[in-house]
């Protein structure tokens, strides 16, 4: 598979995530769309990691080029897990206060 296919898959997933953030009003679904966008970036990083590894393998059989990108994906997952905990706590708190997860109620800054 050419790398371009993976790039387009990643772009499509990212844009679906953006469209979801823009069109939905449920805070939890918006949050899930953000997870979708994070995963689109992850698959792009892994594809480029493989690409550079294959390029480096041509000259050196024992090369470890490309490991850094996979570690980067690992750290993105770590940060996403931490983000989800705090984000869901905020959503639960918001539900407890206004009994809804509709983001249109979060317009206090306008007034």
């Amino acid at each position: 598979m050419p790398v371009n296919y993976y790039i387009f898959l990643s772009v499509a997933l990212f844009c679906i995530g953006i469209a979801g953030v823009l069109t939905r009003r449920n805070a939890i679904i918006i949050f899930m769309c953000i997870e979708l966008m994070l995963n689109a970036v992850n698959i792009l990083l892994v594809a480029f990691s493989k690409m550079h590894h294959l390029r480096a393998l041509a000259t050196d059989a024992a090369t470890t080029v490309g490991t850094e990108a996979q570690l980067f994906v690992f750290f993105i997952m770590v940060v996403a897990a931490a983000e989800v905990t705090v984000g869901l706590a905020i959503i639960v708190m918001m539900y407890r206060n206004i009994h809804s997860v509709d983001i249109n109620f979060l317009n206090r800054l306008k007034h």
């Binding site: 898959l9 997933l13 939905r24 939890i28 899930m32 869901l88």
Partner: protein, 166 residues
């Protein structure tokens, strides 16, 4: 069509279908389940790109832990009654057009790049195995690793503080 191509297209279609269903389902529980489908498809892609460790971590952390957290919160709020107020049609259309326009721009900008001559065929290389990743993680990247543990601790404290009833 080789078996690799068949697998690639199957996983891609599955991921895109799942993503579309996440965005378009009315019921939040269905959205979560479709998101799990997307994560499984992406894990398949990781395995095809020789990133076995990431595939397993993706399944355990995302599909296993994070999605269960989402499901718990949704069931806690009793939102599986699909009573979500909808945005009006024009706003939805505008959002979809905005996402589509961004996709158009990105695809148009990237379709003629040099990467289209690069292929990802070939199963050689073992950088995705846990041995290789662990070596690099615990030598070159040990400081970010420790910092991420502090991040987890603060996220835990933050979740407890936010979730406390006051």
């Amino acid at each position: 069509m080789t078996i690799t191509a068949i697998l690639f297209w199957f996983l891609t279609v599955l991921a895109l279908l799942g993503a579309l269903m996440v965005v378009s389902s009315k019921n939040p529980v269905h959205s979560v389940l479709w998101l799990i489908v997307v994560f499984f498809a992406l894990s398949g892609h990781y395995i095809m790109m020789n990133a076995q460790f990431l595939a397993i971590v993706n399944l355990i952390v995302y599909a296993g832990a994070i999605m269960v957290l989402f499901l718990f919160v949704i069931m806690l709020m009793n939102m599986n009654a699909d009573s979500e107020p909808q945005k009006n049609q024009w706003l939805k259309l505008a959002g979809a057009i905005a996402g589509g326009a961004l996709m158009l721009v990105l695809v148009a900008a990237l379709k003629d790049t040099e990467t289209r001559y690069r292929s990802l065929e070939g199963a050689e290389g073992n950088i995705g195995l846990i041995e290789q990743l662990g070596k690099v993680l615990f030598t070159d990247y040990v400081l970010p690793f420790e910092i991420s543990s502090v991040l987890f601790l603060s996220a835990m404290v933050g979740a407890v503080v936010l979730g406390k009833k006051d």
